[in-house]
Symmetry: C2
Subunit: 372 residues, 2 copies
């Protein structure tokens, strides 16, 4: 292998690929990034055996390709070194397969390589019938849902994000059984076969981080894996097996209590008051809605107590007292961007639903807590 | 106690005082900030029994003082709540001594208080014969030296910063016995009695963080403590007992090797190359100075090796090979701001001295390491 490439062209590809590098280091070769130089360009691949990321640099973005070949290099160290290099051309050259050098005018970095045969053999071909999505919209959908996933391995399915596609309706849901976050959007092209998969949240979050600009992204669903193809990047992850709980009925269609609140006011007040809840785990806030005021109360037995009120629009003009986790409510409110947010209730033991004004794409749901 | 004060006036004083709050929480009352309202204004005090910080808000910065009094409030929680309040007036009022309320138009925070008699009795008076220093210059001196202190409790004196004042010469030194950082400046007024004290690095760093604008700061040295008075802030810390090692002779006056290097080039090259040293602890870099080039070499047995060179001005035109800790050299180089830095050597087993061009205020010293 021998090629000459600009530092920044190499870095742009190394950066996303390095997200697949294993952090646990049980199998040494999974610390490596595979450099595969072919006539058409350079393929960089990393995998932790659960996710695989491959990036392709087309030959038109390579200054010269002198000899095709393959090597596997310590990924994280290489990335940190390339990041720290000044803007310069880099000559990459391997000697047999066990040593590779990265040279600039003044620097020479020689890496020992992993044996090529130790690297997992990953098939990224056989891709047909893509579902087309806007990459930036997809990133937004993942960011607005995945935070609600469970982190407890006792119910493994809930550690994933559920993606359902029926016709042109694309639904993404995450829940830890105490709260739920759901985004429903329409895609441009109706699909023939319904899709219902669960992607590990950790994996799909890593992929979302690689998305920077808006493109038409391709999604390919297989039996036990899903592949996303975004520009010159291919991302593959395993799926979680099992039937994701049907959450359609948990979100009520009609509400007895409809309250419109200023998002920042509500967020900031809860944020302050939550400092006087009992603890990080037991962070229960009591809320009372009465006429055009929402009153927030919290108590920490050791330190003291708080009572704050904010003005609201009480569209149904009903009064109610309800308690919930301040942490969950704050995390849910963070997903909204509008000036106002709707609090939709049906009673003190029914789920609290949050929606934007004039936009039903995003639904946040939180179970109330009984304090009596 | 009853007073009305603007949020920001209170926050400006709470912020620095909270730095003295104990993080270890063995004695509950050390989680508290003492509010002491007198006719002349509000005193806020916190202590961890090692450092004490007191801030004073003059009555002209308080909207109304209705009743003088005293209370001790959970400091960290109060600070976080006050930070999160919008710009507003706060009515502070205590009921007997065991409860205090902070009220705005819409919010009411009630805190349980600590018993006043549990709070350490700290004397901050009896201050005379101040040494006058520029506060910003003092902060710079501390920031440029304290990083070199030892973190090992086995030689407790080296965990402190040594301040020596003789006449108008102010010297600040820190060393962990492998490297040394020293700043020498002149103060405006000659002092009569020589001063030679050692301040715990952790403590003086906390004080340095409270300094934001340049003022004439007063320093008062006592037998077992030192007090700084900066604007409306008083900072007191204990001293370390013992004779700080005399380091005057460790810095040579003349050098056989004088090398002028571009600071950024040298730093960036070492920073990259250090990624291929053996480990974080054994991060030895080999340097070779030959004619107008400085060559840097490092090896990691597992991963590979690097050789980089940068252009230098070799003023003595001598050649030398020397090895040292990349981490220590990088930390020392960070203290300089000029475009160029001098590397001053006397041989491969003599200390490496770093200085700025045309500025002898700051001296950095690093012991070389033998690699044979």
């Amino acid at each position: 292998m021998k090629l000459l490439i600009e530092k920044n062209k190499l870095l742009e590809s190394l950066n996303p690929v390095s997200r697949a590098l294993s952090t646990r280091n049980i199998i040494p070769v999974l610390n490596g990034i595979k450099f595969e130089l072919k006539k058409e360009g350079l393929y960089l691949t990393a995998t932790d055996n659960d996710i695989t990321i491959q990036s392709f640099i087309d030959k038109k973005n390579i200054k010269s390709i002198d000899e095709i070949g393959c090597s596997i290099v310590y990924g994280k160290t290489l990335l940190e070194i390339i990041k720290r290099l000044p803007d310069t051309d880099i000559l990459i050259e391997n000697y047999e397969s066990n040593e590779i050098s990265f040279k600039t005018n003044t620097a020479s970095y020689n890496f020992n390589c992993f044996a090529i045969e130790d690297f997992p053999n990953i098939k990224l071909d056989d891709m047909k019938d893509p579902i087309i999505l806007s990459s930036i919209k997809f990133k937004e959908v993942i960011n607005k849902t995945s935070f609600a996933c469970s982190v407890q391995e006792s119910r493994p399915l809930l550690t994933g994000v559920n993606i359902k596609i029926q016709g042109d309706l694309f639904e993404c849901t995450a829940t830890d059984s105490y709260r739920l976050s759901k985004v429903s959007i329409n895609i441009n092209k109706t699909i023939q076969n319904n899709i219902n998969i669960v992607i590990p949240a950790r994996n799909i979050n890593e992929f979302a981080k690689t998305i920077e600009e808006d493109c038409e992204m391709e999604m390919y669903v297989f039996n036990n894996k899903v592949i996303f193809k975004n520009n010159n990047l291919i991302f593959q992850t395993s799926l979680l097996n099992g039937n994701y709980p049907n959450t359609d009925n948990s979100i009520a269609k009609e509400f007895k209590y409809i309250v419109k609140a200023n998002l920042k006011d509500l967020f900031n007040t809860l944020d302050r008051a939550s400092l006087l809840t009992q603890s990080k785990d037991k962070n229960i806030i009591d809320v009372e809605i009465n006429k055009n005021y929402l009153t927030i109360k919290a108590t920490n037995i050791e330190m003291g107590k708080v009572e704050e009120k904010i003005e609201i629009e009480n569209e149904t003009n009903n009064s109610i007292k309800i308690s919930f986790s301040a942490k969950y409510m704050l995390e849910a409110l963070k997903m909204f961007n509008n000036e106002y947010v709707y609090l939709l209730l049906n009673g003190e033991i029914n789920p609290i639903v949050l929606r934007e004004i004039d936009n039903k794409e995003l639904t946040e749901l939180i179970l109330p807590m009984k304090t009596y």
